[in-house]
Amino acid sequence: MRLSLVGISHHVAPVELRERVSLPLEAATALATRLGDAVCISTCNRTEVYLAGEDETRALASLEELAGEPLRSVAYRMHDEAAAVHLFRVSAGLDSLVPGESEILGQVRAAFDAASPGPILDRVFRQALQLGKRVRTETAIGESPASVPSAAAALAEQVFGDLKGRRVLLVGAGRIGELAAGSLSARGATIAYVANRSAEAAGRVAERFGATALPLEEVAAKLAEVDVVLTSTSAPGLLVRAADVPSRRRQPLFFIDIAVPRDVDPDIQRLDGCYLYDIDDLEAVVAETLAGRRVEAARAEKLVVEEAERYREWQSSLDVVPAIAALRSHAEAIRAHELAKLPELPEDQRQVIELVTSQMLNKLLHLPTIRMKQASSDGDGIEVVRTVRHLFGLEEKP
């Protein structure tokens, strides 16, 4: 057995268990080092240990120690090709909670870079990282937003293009609003104002974004100064009415209302140059993009199948190469043994005999060598190796 995997993930383990087994990068690397030739990937959704030529029992015991309870009912174990394909799917984002999320690829790379893997893990992880990149460049799996905050920011881009320099008025200092504001800010928008009923909460969020804190009463007065209005309060009634919106001659005004009950007057959507998305609209957009991601995931799975095929070929070549070497060494030993039986001969005659026998040996072994390599790439390498070892009485050691 060359490659093995033991781990838990969001598919099988609840968050209370995952958080106990989750390790920061340094601790995950230390665990891998303790286990030998290993790489440990630990994120909020999974902790997995990949091992080369090692028994995974010790790795499982280490995870159980972290969990403080037996993990046999939730931990999965995989070997060789199954373990490799699992890693390919993980790095492609296909095993993630949101298909195609890009963070996991960086986490796999970080785990690999921090570890000191041997040749087998090195090969498999490099292949997995390449596949992760391929999936993101050859499919559109990661292009569409998968959450309400990122969808809100992506929609603002559909109105304004580049958000650099666009000014945002955040109404409400709740967590979801802050996340959506963070998403807009990450795409270049400037959070100019934060308005909230509680001045303290407004000040805290405003400080984070370098914005100005406002009382809710000043929201209407600031509408002329901003491009995006993001509302997420728990106010019982409307905070922004159509009558508050100034006539905008040149630039559009984009409203994102993620509050329930709604903060923004729905009639604003009828105003020229104004666009309004409420929480239902945003969720519908996210559902649509997730459906699109699932279509792209099917394409990504095909790439995983291709990589699995390449992995199989490589595995087969690992079986064949030692057998070829053993066969040649066996033949060479016979030749040397028979040459040793020759009587004393002049040096030039001995050289001729050595040359002729060596050429005979090469010619005899040429075709079997080619055929074994061929069998390897056809997926029959293991069978052929077994036959050759049996016929020539070679050692069973690979």
């Binding site: 569409s144 559909q158 304004f160 293009g161 559009p252 020229d272 699109g292």
Partner: protein
């Protein structure tokens, strides 16, 4: 033999028209536009070399030149992977018009030209270039209205089937008009100068072309925003269609 350049050009444009239908083949589509345009450039070069004067005087010939300008402008302004749907709007029309030009004999080389006068060459060339720019501006304005409608209707597929943003569409439409209007101005002025020399009268095509100029001048002058700008650009294009199709062949 040189006329055979029509086929690689059509192949490139046709391939792009189909390739832009799928996000997977956008890059292939862009290469189709580039190679097709190079082939058409070669074809126009051969046509120009074989004729003493202006080789695109017939309606079909001018349509050939018009397609070259449209695709050229598209290559400069909008030929980007993320604006696939713009290519999907422009390239099928370009391929179709190119075939019409071929059927009308506008892609043949070695035809005799009605115009040998440089003055007329400038007049016709500049007007056609301007009309090509206005056509592209109309395509962009149409995309603006489509995208604006999708945003107003809160289309759920708006992030899956992406068009350029409203602000970008509006800006590029305006820039295209800003480039095209001076070309039309040069074409018109050269025509008017010639008209005065010949003591001729204003015909219907000239009147429509002046109206076209006025509409686009208003757009540049008052710079309306949003839907109003798009509607005006389409109004101007309506006059371009009248000039290019309804009144084709009435001027010379």
């Amino acid at each position: 033999m040189a006329e055979l350049l029509f086929w690689p050009a059509l192949l490139g444009y046709g391939e792009a028209a189909f390739a832009y239908a799928s996000p997977r083949y956008t890059r292939l589509g862009t290469w189709g536009v580039r190679l097709g345009w190079l082939a058409q450039t070669g074809l126009l070069g051969v046509q120009a070399a074989r004729v003493d004067g202006f080789p695109w005087s017939s309606w079909a010939g001018s349509l050939n030149l018009f397609v070259w300008f449209v695709v050229g402008a598209y290559l400069i302004w909008g030929c980007q992977q993320r604006y696939r749907l713009l290519g999907l709007a422009v390239m099928p029309v370009a391929a179709l018009l190119f075939v019409v030009a071929r059927i009308g004999g506008g892609t043949a080389a070695g035809q005799r030209s009605n115009y040998s006068n440089l003055f007329l060459v400038v007049h016709v060339g500049f007007v056609i270039a301007a009309f090509a720019g206005f056509t592209l501006a109309a395509a962009l304005a149409t995309l603006y209205l489509v995208e604006e409608r999708r945003l107003k209707r809160r289309a759920t597929d708006i992030l899956r089937l992406k068009l350029p943003s409203l602000v970008v569409l509006e800006r590029v439409t305006f820039r295209t008009i800003a480039v095209s209007l001076p070309l039309l101005t040069v074409g018109l002025v050269s025509g008017i100068v010639r008209l005065r020399e010949d003591h001729g009268g204003v015909d219907a095509l000239m009147a429509v072309t002046i109206l076209t100029w006025l509409v686009y001048a208003v757009i540049l002058g008052i710079r309306p925003a949003g839907r109003n700008a798009a509607y005006l650009a389409l109004l101007g294009f309506g006059f371009v269609i009248v000039a290019r199709i309804v009144l084709a062949g009435t001027h010379f």
